[in-house]
Amino acid sequence: MAQDIPYKSRVRIEAEAICDGFVAAGAARFETDILLSAEVLLDLYGEDIRARAYVTTDPERGEMMLRPDFTVPVVQYHMSGDGLPASYTYFGEVFRKQEDHPDRRSEYMQVGYEEFGGANAAAADADVFGQFSDALAPLGLRAATGDIGILIAMVEGLNTTEDRRAALMRHIWRPARFTALVKRFAGLTPVPPSRAALLASDVGLPEDGVMIGLRSEREIANRIDALRADAAQAPMSSEIVDLIAAVLAVSETCPNALEHLRDIAVDLPGLLPALDRFEARCEAMVQRGIDVDALPFEASYGRTSMEYYDGFVFGFYSETRPDLPPVATGGRYDALTRRLGQGRENPAVGGVIRPDVVLELGGLR
Protein backbone atom coordinates (compact mmCIF):
# COMPACT_ATOMS: atom_id res chain seq x y z
CA MET A 1 0.00 0.00 0.00
CA ALA A 2 1.36 3.37 -1.02
CA GLN A 3 0.82 5.02 2.36
CA ASP A 4 3.07 2.42 3.96
CA ILE A 5 6.09 3.64 2.03
CA PRO A 6 8.02 6.14 4.21
CA TYR A 7 7.77 9.73 3.08
CA LYS A 8 11.48 10.09 2.37
CA SER A 9 11.44 6.95 0.26
CA ARG A 10 8.60 8.33 -1.83
CA VAL A 11 10.55 11.56 -2.36
CA ARG A 12 13.62 9.54 -3.37
CA ILE A 13 11.61 7.42 -5.81
CA GLU A 14 10.21 10.63 -7.33
CA ALA A 15 13.74 12.07 -7.55
CA GLU A 16 15.13 8.95 -9.21
CA ALA A 17 12.42 9.01 -11.83
CA ILE A 18 13.09 12.67 -12.71
CA CYS A 19 16.82 12.02 -12.78
CA ASP A 20 16.32 8.98 -15.06
CA GLY A 21 14.47 11.28 -17.45
CA PHE A 22 17.51 13.54 -17.71
CA VAL A 23 19.79 10.50 -18.17
CA ALA A 24 17.53 9.34 -21.00
CA ALA A 25 18.05 12.77 -22.59
CA GLY A 26 21.80 12.16 -22.55
CA ALA A 27 23.02 13.54 -19.21
CA ALA A 28 25.75 11.81 -17.21
CA ARG A 29 25.12 11.01 -13.54
CA PHE A 30 26.99 13.16 -11.02
CA GLU A 31 27.64 12.54 -7.32
CA THR A 32 29.47 14.62 -4.75
CA ASP A 33 30.16 14.80 -1.02
CA ILE A 34 27.60 16.03 1.47
CA LEU A 35 30.30 17.61 3.63
CA LEU A 36 32.03 20.30 1.54
CA SER A 37 34.89 22.66 2.25
CA ALA A 38 33.26 25.94 3.28
CA GLU A 39 35.97 28.22 1.97
CA VAL A 40 35.01 28.38 -1.71
CA LEU A 41 31.30 28.63 -0.93
CA LEU A 42 31.78 31.42 1.60
CA ASP A 43 34.05 33.38 -0.70
CA LEU A 44 31.52 33.08 -3.53
CA TYR A 45 28.29 33.72 -1.67
CA GLY A 46 29.45 35.60 1.42
CA GLU A 47 27.40 35.96 4.53
CA ASP A 48 24.15 35.16 2.70
CA ILE A 49 25.18 31.54 2.53
CA ARG A 50 26.52 31.45 6.09
CA ALA A 51 23.10 32.58 7.30
CA ARG A 52 21.44 29.74 5.44
CA ALA A 53 23.94 26.88 5.46
CA TYR A 54 25.10 24.62 8.26
CA VAL A 55 28.75 25.32 8.95
CA THR A 56 30.84 23.10 11.16
CA THR A 57 34.53 22.63 11.82
CA ASP A 58 36.78 19.70 11.16
CA PRO A 59 39.99 19.61 13.22
CA GLU A 60 42.05 18.81 10.12
CA ARG A 61 40.12 20.32 7.18
CA GLY A 62 38.89 23.53 8.81
CA GLU A 63 35.44 24.98 8.20
CA MET A 64 33.09 22.55 6.47
CA MET A 65 29.57 23.06 5.18
CA LEU A 66 26.68 20.67 4.71
CA ARG A 67 26.03 20.85 0.96
CA PRO A 68 23.79 23.90 0.37
CA ASP A 69 23.49 23.09 -3.35
CA PHE A 70 25.21 21.06 -6.06
CA THR A 71 26.12 23.89 -8.38
CA VAL A 72 29.59 24.63 -7.08
CA PRO A 73 30.72 20.97 -6.90
CA VAL A 74 29.37 20.21 -10.38
CA VAL A 75 31.07 23.31 -11.85
CA GLN A 76 34.34 22.40 -10.13
CA TYR A 77 34.07 18.86 -11.48
CA HIS A 78 33.33 19.96 -15.02
CA MET A 79 36.01 22.67 -15.06
CA SER A 80 38.67 20.21 -13.89
CA GLY A 81 37.94 18.01 -16.92
CA ASP A 82 38.68 18.29 -20.63
CA GLY A 83 36.27 21.19 -21.12
CA LEU A 84 34.29 19.43 -23.85
CA PRO A 85 30.54 20.00 -23.87
CA ALA A 86 28.78 17.83 -21.31
CA SER A 87 25.56 17.61 -19.39
CA TYR A 88 25.07 16.22 -15.89
CA THR A 89 22.19 15.19 -13.71
CA TYR A 90 22.18 14.45 -9.98
CA PHE A 91 19.93 14.11 -7.00
CA GLY A 92 20.60 14.26 -3.31
CA GLU A 93 19.98 16.08 -0.06
CA VAL A 94 20.79 19.75 0.42
CA PHE A 95 20.66 21.60 3.71
CA ARG A 96 19.37 25.11 4.37
CA LYS A 97 18.44 26.77 7.63
CA GLN A 98 14.88 28.10 7.50
CA GLU A 99 14.98 30.93 10.02
CA ASP A 100 12.30 32.89 8.18
CA HIS A 101 10.14 29.84 7.48
CA PRO A 102 10.60 27.43 10.42
CA ASP A 103 7.77 25.31 9.01
CA ARG A 104 9.81 24.51 5.88
CA ARG A 105 12.20 21.57 5.78
CA SER A 106 15.87 22.33 6.34
CA GLU A 107 16.96 19.04 4.76
CA TYR A 108 15.45 18.29 1.39
CA MET A 109 16.14 16.62 -1.91
CA GLN A 110 17.15 18.36 -5.14
CA VAL A 111 17.27 16.91 -8.64
CA GLY A 112 19.47 18.90 -10.99
CA TYR A 113 20.34 19.10 -14.62
CA GLU A 114 23.25 21.22 -15.90
CA GLU A 115 24.53 21.76 -19.46
CA PHE A 116 28.09 22.93 -20.09
CA GLY A 117 29.85 24.11 -23.22
CA GLY A 118 26.89 24.67 -25.51
CA ALA A 119 28.33 27.03 -28.12
CA ASN A 120 24.84 28.18 -29.05
CA ALA A 121 23.63 29.85 -25.83
CA ALA A 122 20.10 30.42 -27.11
CA ALA A 123 19.69 26.76 -28.03
CA ALA A 124 21.15 25.61 -24.69
CA ASP A 125 18.83 27.95 -22.73
CA ALA A 126 15.84 26.73 -24.72
CA ASP A 127 16.84 23.10 -24.30
CA VAL A 128 17.25 23.31 -20.52
CA PHE A 129 14.02 25.24 -20.08
CA GLY A 130 12.29 22.78 -22.43
CA GLN A 131 13.52 19.75 -20.49
CA PHE A 132 12.26 21.21 -17.20
CA SER A 133 9.00 22.27 -18.80
CA ASP A 134 8.47 18.80 -20.30
CA ALA A 135 9.37 16.98 -17.11
CA LEU A 136 6.99 19.08 -15.02
CA ALA A 137 4.18 19.36 -17.62
CA PRO A 138 1.76 17.01 -15.78
CA LEU A 139 1.66 19.39 -12.80
CA GLY A 140 0.29 22.36 -14.77
CA LEU A 141 2.70 24.89 -13.28
CA ARG A 142 3.14 28.59 -13.95
CA ALA A 143 6.52 29.42 -15.49
CA ALA A 144 8.42 32.62 -14.79
CA THR A 145 11.39 33.86 -16.82
CA GLY A 146 13.81 36.74 -16.76
CA ASP A 147 17.27 37.64 -17.95
CA ILE A 148 19.96 39.02 -15.67
CA GLY A 149 22.07 39.60 -18.81
CA ILE A 150 19.64 42.36 -19.83
CA LEU A 151 20.11 44.08 -16.45
CA ILE A 152 23.90 43.78 -16.76
CA ALA A 153 23.73 45.26 -20.27
CA MET A 154 21.49 48.03 -18.95
CA VAL A 155 24.06 49.04 -16.32
CA GLU A 156 26.98 48.71 -18.74
CA GLY A 157 25.15 50.91 -21.22
CA LEU A 158 24.30 53.76 -18.83
CA ASN A 159 25.68 57.12 -19.82
CA THR A 160 27.44 57.78 -16.51
CA THR A 161 30.86 57.32 -14.93
CA GLU A 162 32.70 54.02 -14.77
CA ASP A 163 32.66 54.11 -10.94
CA ARG A 164 28.90 54.60 -10.84
CA ARG A 165 28.35 51.77 -13.29
CA ALA A 166 30.60 49.52 -11.19
CA ALA A 167 28.72 50.42 -8.00
CA LEU A 168 25.35 49.67 -9.64
CA MET A 169 26.70 46.43 -11.12
CA ARG A 170 27.73 45.19 -7.66
CA HIS A 171 24.21 45.66 -6.39
CA ILE A 172 22.06 44.33 -9.25
CA TRP A 173 21.17 41.46 -6.88
CA ARG A 174 20.17 43.79 -4.00
CA PRO A 175 17.19 45.71 -5.39
CA ALA A 176 16.73 48.09 -2.42
CA ARG A 177 20.38 49.08 -2.36
CA PHE A 178 20.40 49.40 -6.16
CA THR A 179 17.48 51.82 -6.06
CA ALA A 180 19.12 53.81 -3.25
CA LEU A 181 22.29 54.15 -5.32
CA VAL A 182 20.37 55.27 -8.41
CA LYS A 183 18.68 57.96 -6.32
CA ARG A 184 21.94 59.11 -4.80
CA PHE A 185 23.76 59.28 -8.15
CA ALA A 186 20.83 61.28 -9.50
CA GLY A 187 21.06 63.72 -6.61
CA LEU A 188 17.59 62.75 -5.40
CA THR A 189 18.66 61.96 -1.85
CA PRO A 190 20.47 64.45 0.38
CA VAL A 191 24.20 63.97 0.88
CA PRO A 192 24.79 62.75 4.47
CA PRO A 193 26.38 65.50 6.61
CA SER A 194 29.45 63.36 7.25
CA ARG A 195 30.01 62.97 3.51
CA ALA A 196 29.45 66.68 2.87
CA ALA A 197 32.00 67.55 5.56
CA LEU A 198 34.49 65.09 4.13
CA LEU A 199 34.14 66.53 0.64
CA ALA A 200 34.23 70.16 1.75
CA SER A 201 37.28 70.02 3.97
CA ASP A 202 40.80 68.92 3.49
CA VAL A 203 40.26 66.06 5.89
CA GLY A 204 43.41 64.38 7.02
CA LEU A 205 43.99 61.62 9.48
CA PRO A 206 42.57 62.14 12.98
CA GLU A 207 44.59 64.27 15.34
CA ASP A 208 46.00 61.37 17.30
CA GLY A 209 47.34 60.05 13.98
CA VAL A 210 46.89 56.45 15.09
CA MET A 211 46.56 54.07 12.16
CA ILE A 212 45.22 50.67 13.04
CA GLY A 213 44.05 47.74 10.97
CA LEU A 214 44.93 46.35 7.55
CA ARG A 215 43.28 49.12 5.54
CA SER A 216 46.12 51.51 4.82
CA GLU A 217 46.34 55.30 4.72
CA ARG A 218 46.76 54.97 0.95
CA GLU A 219 43.50 53.06 0.63
CA ILE A 220 41.65 55.68 2.67
CA ALA A 221 43.13 58.48 0.55
CA ASN A 222 42.19 56.63 -2.65
CA ARG A 223 38.58 56.35 -1.57
CA ILE A 224 38.42 60.04 -0.64
CA ASP A 225 39.82 60.88 -4.09
CA ALA A 226 37.17 58.69 -5.70
CA LEU A 227 34.39 60.34 -3.65
CA ARG A 228 35.64 63.81 -4.60
CA ALA A 229 35.84 62.83 -8.26
CA ASP A 230 32.28 61.51 -8.09
CA ALA A 231 31.01 64.63 -6.34
CA ALA A 232 32.52 66.74 -9.14
CA GLN A 233 30.43 64.85 -11.70
CA ALA A 234 27.00 66.06 -12.73
CA PRO A 235 24.16 64.04 -11.19
CA MET A 236 22.81 61.22 -13.30
CA SER A 237 20.01 62.64 -15.45
CA SER A 238 16.34 62.02 -14.74
CA GLU A 239 16.16 60.39 -18.20
CA ILE A 240 18.58 57.70 -17.03
CA VAL A 241 16.60 57.18 -13.82
CA ASP A 242 13.43 56.79 -15.87
CA LEU A 243 15.09 54.36 -18.29
CA ILE A 244 16.27 52.15 -15.42
CA ALA A 245 12.78 52.19 -13.89
CA ALA A 246 11.25 51.39 -17.29
CA VAL A 247 13.50 48.37 -17.85
CA LEU A 248 12.94 47.01 -14.35
CA ALA A 249 9.18 47.37 -14.68
CA VAL A 250 8.89 45.23 -17.84
CA SER A 251 6.60 42.31 -17.07
CA GLU A 252 4.71 40.86 -20.05
CA THR A 253 4.68 37.83 -22.31
CA CYS A 254 8.04 37.25 -23.99
CA PRO A 255 7.15 38.76 -27.41
CA ASN A 256 5.59 41.85 -25.83
CA ALA A 257 8.47 42.23 -23.38
CA LEU A 258 10.96 42.04 -26.24
CA GLU A 259 9.09 44.69 -28.20
CA HIS A 260 8.79 46.92 -25.15
CA LEU A 261 12.51 46.56 -24.36
CA ARG A 262 13.39 47.35 -28.01
CA ASP A 263 11.43 50.61 -27.60
CA ILE A 264 13.44 51.42 -24.47
CA ALA A 265 16.66 50.53 -26.30
CA VAL A 266 16.11 53.46 -28.66
CA ASP A 267 17.35 55.58 -25.75
CA LEU A 268 19.57 52.89 -24.25
CA PRO A 269 21.33 51.24 -27.21
CA GLY A 270 23.61 49.30 -24.86
CA LEU A 271 20.69 46.91 -24.38
CA LEU A 272 20.70 45.79 -28.00
CA PRO A 273 23.18 42.87 -27.88
CA ALA A 274 21.36 41.42 -24.84
CA LEU A 275 18.00 41.89 -26.60
CA ASP A 276 19.34 40.11 -29.67
CA ARG A 277 20.24 37.19 -27.38
CA PHE A 278 16.75 37.34 -25.85
CA GLU A 279 15.22 37.24 -29.33
CA ALA A 280 17.44 34.35 -30.39
CA ARG A 281 16.39 32.46 -27.26
CA CYS A 282 12.72 33.06 -28.04
CA GLU A 283 13.26 31.70 -31.55
CA ALA A 284 15.11 28.66 -30.20
CA MET A 285 12.26 28.09 -27.75
CA VAL A 286 9.69 28.22 -30.56
CA GLN A 287 11.73 25.63 -32.44
CA ARG A 288 11.74 23.42 -29.37
CA GLY A 289 7.95 23.64 -29.27
CA ILE A 290 7.62 26.00 -26.30
CA ASP A 291 4.62 28.31 -26.37
CA VAL A 292 6.67 31.52 -26.21
CA ASP A 293 3.64 33.72 -27.00
CA ALA A 294 2.15 32.77 -23.63
CA LEU A 295 5.42 32.62 -21.67
CA PRO A 296 5.75 35.43 -19.06
CA PHE A 297 8.91 37.53 -18.85
CA GLU A 298 9.78 39.77 -15.89
CA ALA A 299 12.88 41.95 -16.15
CA SER A 300 13.34 41.94 -12.36
CA TYR A 301 12.91 38.18 -12.00
CA GLY A 302 15.81 36.42 -10.31
CA ARG A 303 17.37 39.53 -8.80
CA THR A 304 17.02 38.34 -5.24
CA SER A 305 18.22 34.80 -5.82
CA MET A 306 21.82 33.64 -5.80
CA GLU A 307 24.28 36.03 -7.31
CA TYR A 308 25.76 33.61 -9.78
CA TYR A 309 23.08 33.79 -12.47
CA ASP A 310 24.15 36.21 -15.18
CA GLY A 311 21.81 35.45 -18.08
CA PHE A 312 18.52 33.63 -18.63
CA VAL A 313 16.70 32.74 -15.38
CA PHE A 314 13.55 30.69 -14.89
CA GLY A 315 11.30 29.15 -12.28
CA PHE A 316 8.19 26.97 -12.06
CA TYR A 317 5.51 27.65 -9.45
CA SER A 318 2.28 26.05 -8.35
CA GLU A 319 -0.63 28.44 -8.82
CA THR A 320 -2.89 26.40 -6.58
CA ARG A 321 -0.36 26.17 -3.74
CA PRO A 322 1.38 29.57 -3.43
CA ASP A 323 2.49 28.53 0.07
CA LEU A 324 4.98 26.05 -1.42
CA PRO A 325 8.53 26.97 -2.45
CA PRO A 326 9.16 27.04 -6.23
CA VAL A 327 8.99 23.57 -7.79
CA ALA A 328 12.02 24.32 -9.96
CA THR A 329 14.48 27.18 -10.52
CA GLY A 330 17.44 27.61 -12.83
CA GLY A 331 19.43 29.82 -15.09
CA ARG A 332 22.65 30.62 -16.89
CA TYR A 333 25.85 31.07 -14.89
CA ASP A 334 28.76 31.57 -17.29
CA ALA A 335 30.54 33.89 -14.85
CA LEU A 336 30.59 31.24 -12.14
CA THR A 337 32.55 28.88 -14.40
CA ARG A 338 35.01 31.72 -14.93
CA ARG A 339 35.47 32.22 -11.20
CA LEU A 340 35.87 28.54 -10.43
CA GLY A 341 37.65 27.64 -13.65
CA GLN A 342 41.12 28.94 -12.74
CA GLY A 343 41.53 30.92 -15.91
CA ARG A 344 39.14 28.90 -18.04
CA GLU A 345 35.45 29.40 -18.64
CA ASN A 346 32.63 27.46 -20.18
CA PRO A 347 29.08 28.52 -20.94
CA ALA A 348 26.73 26.85 -18.45
CA VAL A 349 23.00 26.69 -17.85
CA GLY A 350 20.97 24.43 -15.60
CA GLY A 351 18.49 24.15 -12.81
CA VAL A 352 17.06 22.13 -9.96
CA ILE A 353 13.71 20.51 -9.17
CA ARG A 354 12.36 19.89 -5.64
CA PRO A 355 11.00 16.32 -5.76
CA ASP A 356 9.34 16.78 -2.34
CA VAL A 357 7.31 19.68 -3.73
CA VAL A 358 6.54 17.64 -6.85
CA LEU A 359 5.24 14.89 -4.57
CA GLU A 360 3.20 17.40 -2.57
CA LEU A 361 1.50 18.42 -5.81
CA GLY A 362 0.56 14.84 -6.67
CA GLY A 363 3.78 13.55 -8.20
CA LEU A 364 4.84 12.86 -11.77
CA ARG A 365 4.73 9.08 -11.70
Binding site: L42, D43, G46, E47, D48, R50, A51, E99, P102, A167, R170, H171, R174, A176, R177, A180, R184, P192, S194, R195, L198, V203, G204, L205, P206, D208, V210, M211, I212, G213, L214, R215, E217, E219, I220, N222, R223, I224, A226, L227
Partner: protein, 230 residues
Amino acid sequence: MTIKLGVPSKGRLMEKTFDWFGARGVTLSRTGSDREYAGAVEGVDGVDLVLLSAGEIPRELAAGRIHLGVTGNDLIQEKLVQWDQKVEPLAPLGFGHANLIVAVPHCWVDVDTLDDLDGAAAAFRARHGFRMRIATKYHRLVRDYLRRGGVADYQLVDSQGATEGTVKNLTAEAIADITSTGETLRANHLKILDEPPVLESQATLFRSRVADKTDADRVVLRALIERLGV
Protein backbone atom coordinates in the same frame (compact mmCIF):
# COMPACT_ATOMS: atom_id res chain seq x y z
CA MET B 1 3.49 23.55 40.05
CA THR B 2 4.91 26.97 40.71
CA ILE B 3 5.76 29.95 38.59
CA LYS B 4 9.50 29.98 37.81
CA LEU B 5 11.24 33.34 37.57
CA GLY B 6 14.70 33.30 35.94
CA VAL B 7 17.13 36.01 37.03
CA PRO B 8 20.81 36.60 36.19
CA SER B 9 22.87 34.75 38.74
CA LYS B 10 25.58 37.28 39.50
CA GLY B 11 26.96 40.78 39.29
CA ARG B 12 25.31 44.13 38.82
CA LEU B 13 22.57 42.71 36.62
CA MET B 14 21.47 40.44 39.48
CA GLU B 15 21.69 43.20 42.10
CA LYS B 16 19.74 45.69 39.98
CA THR B 17 17.11 43.06 39.19
CA PHE B 18 16.74 42.36 42.92
CA ASP B 19 16.40 46.14 43.49
CA TRP B 20 13.78 46.50 40.77
CA PHE B 21 11.61 43.70 42.19
CA GLY B 22 12.25 44.92 45.77
CA ALA B 23 10.96 48.39 44.91
CA ARG B 24 7.70 46.69 43.87
CA GLY B 25 7.31 44.69 47.09
CA VAL B 26 8.75 41.43 45.84
CA THR B 27 11.92 40.56 47.70
CA LEU B 28 14.35 38.32 45.83
CA SER B 29 17.41 36.94 47.58
CA ARG B 30 20.11 34.38 47.21
CA THR B 31 20.10 31.70 49.84
CA GLY B 32 22.78 29.38 51.13
CA SER B 33 26.44 30.09 50.54
CA ASP B 34 27.73 32.67 48.09
CA ARG B 35 28.66 29.93 45.69
CA GLU B 36 25.30 28.20 45.67
CA TYR B 37 22.87 29.29 42.98
CA ALA B 38 19.68 29.07 45.00
CA GLY B 39 17.24 31.84 45.79
CA ALA B 40 14.08 32.78 47.63
CA VAL B 41 11.06 34.96 46.85
CA GLU B 42 9.13 36.84 49.53
CA GLY B 43 6.07 39.03 49.18
CA VAL B 44 4.19 36.80 46.77
CA ASP B 45 3.34 33.11 47.04
CA GLY B 46 3.92 30.35 44.55
CA VAL B 47 6.95 31.84 42.77
CA ASP B 48 10.33 30.08 42.58
CA LEU B 49 13.51 32.00 41.90
CA VAL B 50 15.86 30.35 39.39
CA LEU B 51 19.34 31.88 39.13
CA LEU B 52 20.82 31.47 35.67
CA SER B 53 23.47 32.95 33.43
CA ALA B 54 21.85 35.88 31.56
CA GLY B 55 22.89 34.19 28.29
CA GLU B 56 20.89 31.04 29.14
CA ILE B 57 17.67 32.82 30.06
CA PRO B 58 16.46 33.24 26.43
CA ARG B 59 16.78 29.51 25.79
CA GLU B 60 15.05 28.59 29.07
CA LEU B 61 12.14 30.93 28.26
CA ALA B 62 11.82 29.55 24.74
CA ALA B 63 11.88 25.98 26.08
CA GLY B 64 9.18 26.86 28.60
CA ARG B 65 11.31 25.77 31.56
CA ILE B 66 10.83 29.18 33.19
CA HIS B 67 7.69 31.33 33.00
CA LEU B 68 9.33 34.71 33.49
CA GLY B 69 12.91 35.82 32.94
CA VAL B 70 15.10 38.89 33.09
CA THR B 71 17.70 39.33 30.36
CA GLY B 72 18.79 41.80 27.70
CA ASN B 73 16.67 42.04 24.57
CA ASP B 74 19.94 41.80 22.60
CA LEU B 75 20.35 38.21 23.81
CA ILE B 76 16.68 37.39 23.20
CA GLN B 77 16.80 38.64 19.63
CA GLU B 78 20.20 37.10 18.81
CA LYS B 79 19.49 33.67 20.27
CA LEU B 80 15.82 33.06 19.46
CA VAL B 81 14.53 32.55 15.93
CA GLN B 82 11.19 34.37 15.64
CA TRP B 83 11.63 35.52 19.22
CA ASP B 84 8.33 37.39 19.41
CA GLN B 85 6.42 34.15 18.96
CA LYS B 86 8.23 32.56 21.89
CA VAL B 87 8.44 35.35 24.47
CA GLU B 88 6.60 38.55 25.28
CA PRO B 89 8.43 41.57 26.72
CA LEU B 90 6.48 42.70 29.80
CA ALA B 91 8.57 45.64 30.97
CA PRO B 92 11.90 47.30 30.30
CA LEU B 93 13.66 47.50 33.66
CA GLY B 94 15.57 50.73 33.09
CA PHE B 95 19.09 49.40 33.56
CA GLY B 96 21.65 47.35 31.69
CA HIS B 97 21.43 49.83 28.82
CA ALA B 98 23.66 48.98 25.91
CA ASN B 99 23.63 49.47 22.18
CA LEU B 100 24.76 46.92 19.65
CA ILE B 101 26.75 49.03 17.21
CA VAL B 102 29.13 48.74 14.27
CA ALA B 103 32.50 50.43 14.79
CA VAL B 104 35.40 51.05 12.44
CA PRO B 105 38.93 52.40 13.01
CA HIS B 106 38.94 56.06 14.01
CA CYS B 107 41.45 56.66 11.21
CA TRP B 108 38.85 55.72 8.57
CA VAL B 109 37.89 59.35 8.02
CA ASP B 110 36.04 58.34 4.85
CA VAL B 111 33.66 55.93 6.60
CA ASP B 112 30.70 57.19 8.65
CA THR B 113 27.64 55.50 7.16
CA LEU B 114 26.66 52.01 6.01
CA ASP B 115 26.91 53.32 2.46
CA ASP B 116 30.54 54.22 3.20
CA LEU B 117 31.17 50.85 4.81
CA ASP B 118 29.88 49.12 1.67
CA GLY B 119 32.05 51.28 -0.57
CA ALA B 120 35.12 50.66 1.58
CA ALA B 121 34.35 46.91 1.64
CA ALA B 122 34.23 46.76 -2.16
CA ALA B 123 37.61 48.49 -2.48
CA PHE B 124 39.06 46.42 0.35
CA ARG B 125 38.10 43.13 -1.27
CA ALA B 126 39.50 44.23 -4.62
CA ARG B 127 42.77 45.30 -2.97
CA HIS B 128 43.28 42.46 -0.46
CA GLY B 129 41.57 39.55 -2.19
CA PHE B 130 39.27 38.68 0.69
CA ARG B 131 36.09 40.06 2.19
CA MET B 132 36.30 42.76 4.83
CA ARG B 133 36.16 41.05 8.24
CA ILE B 134 33.77 42.25 10.92
CA ALA B 135 34.33 40.68 14.35
CA THR B 136 31.24 40.00 16.49
CA LYS B 137 29.40 37.49 18.60
CA TYR B 138 25.99 38.77 17.43
CA HIS B 139 26.02 37.04 14.07
CA ARG B 140 22.32 36.97 13.27
CA LEU B 141 21.50 40.52 14.32
CA VAL B 142 24.53 42.02 12.58
CA ARG B 143 24.01 40.02 9.39
CA ASP B 144 20.38 41.13 9.17
CA TYR B 145 21.37 44.73 9.84
CA LEU B 146 24.07 44.76 7.17
CA ARG B 147 21.81 43.01 4.67
CA ARG B 148 19.09 45.60 5.22
CA GLY B 149 21.76 48.30 4.92
CA GLY B 150 22.86 46.87 1.56
CA VAL B 151 26.42 46.10 2.61
CA ALA B 152 28.19 43.45 0.51
CA ASP B 153 31.73 42.04 0.35
CA TYR B 154 32.08 41.56 4.09
CA GLN B 155 32.37 38.48 6.29
CA LEU B 156 31.63 38.03 9.96
CA VAL B 157 34.37 36.53 12.09
CA ASP B 158 33.47 35.14 15.46
CA SER B 159 34.77 36.96 18.51
CA GLN B 160 33.48 35.94 21.92
CA GLY B 161 35.49 38.50 23.88
CA ALA B 162 37.96 41.40 23.67
CA THR B 163 36.33 42.19 20.33
CA GLU B 164 37.63 45.78 20.36
CA GLY B 165 41.17 44.42 20.12
CA THR B 166 40.65 42.45 16.92
CA VAL B 167 41.29 45.38 14.59
CA LYS B 168 44.63 46.24 16.16
CA ASN B 169 45.53 42.55 16.09
CA LEU B 170 44.73 42.46 12.36
CA THR B 171 42.17 39.68 12.72
CA ALA B 172 39.30 41.99 11.67
CA GLU B 173 38.84 45.33 9.92
CA ALA B 174 35.76 46.42 11.88
CA ILE B 175 33.66 45.19 14.78
CA ALA B 176 30.05 44.93 15.91
CA ASP B 177 29.61 44.80 19.66
CA ILE B 178 27.64 45.95 22.67
CA THR B 179 28.72 49.25 24.15
CA SER B 180 27.26 51.47 26.84
CA THR B 181 29.60 54.46 27.05
CA GLY B 182 31.88 53.91 24.07
CA GLU B 183 34.98 54.34 26.24
CA THR B 184 36.50 50.98 25.37
CA LEU B 185 35.96 51.77 21.70
CA ARG B 186 37.74 55.10 21.97
CA ALA B 187 40.60 53.53 23.92
CA ASN B 188 41.00 51.08 21.06
CA HIS B 189 40.93 53.81 18.38
CA LEU B 190 37.52 52.83 17.06
CA LYS B 191 34.51 54.99 16.23
CA ILE B 192 30.81 54.14 16.02
CA LEU B 193 29.15 54.50 12.61
CA ASP B 194 26.85 57.48 12.34
CA GLU B 195 23.77 55.27 11.90
CA PRO B 196 20.97 53.98 14.12
CA PRO B 197 22.39 51.13 16.23
CA VAL B 198 21.81 47.51 15.26
CA LEU B 199 19.81 47.24 18.47
CA GLU B 200 19.14 49.28 21.60
CA SER B 201 19.17 46.89 24.49
CA GLN B 202 18.35 46.98 28.19
CA ALA B 203 17.45 44.49 30.88
CA THR B 204 13.85 43.44 30.25
CA LEU B 205 11.32 41.21 31.97
CA PHE B 206 10.05 38.62 29.52
CA ARG B 207 7.16 36.17 29.73
CA SER B 208 7.44 32.78 28.06
CA ARG B 209 4.62 32.19 25.61
CA VAL B 210 5.16 28.43 25.69
CA ALA B 211 5.62 27.47 29.37
CA ASP B 212 2.95 25.11 30.72
CA LYS B 213 0.64 26.58 33.35
CA THR B 214 -2.03 25.09 35.62
CA ASP B 215 -5.04 27.19 36.56
CA ALA B 216 -3.38 27.81 39.92
CA ASP B 217 -0.23 29.03 38.11
CA ARG B 218 -2.29 31.49 36.09
CA VAL B 219 -3.66 32.98 39.31
CA VAL B 220 -0.14 33.30 40.75
CA LEU B 221 1.21 34.82 37.52
CA ARG B 222 -1.63 37.34 37.37
CA ALA B 223 -1.05 38.32 40.99
CA LEU B 224 2.69 38.73 40.42
CA ILE B 225 2.23 40.80 37.28
CA GLU B 226 -0.31 42.97 39.10
CA ARG B 227 2.08 43.41 42.02
CA LEU B 228 4.87 44.44 39.67
CA GLY B 229 2.57 46.83 37.83
CA VAL B 230 3.69 45.68 34.38
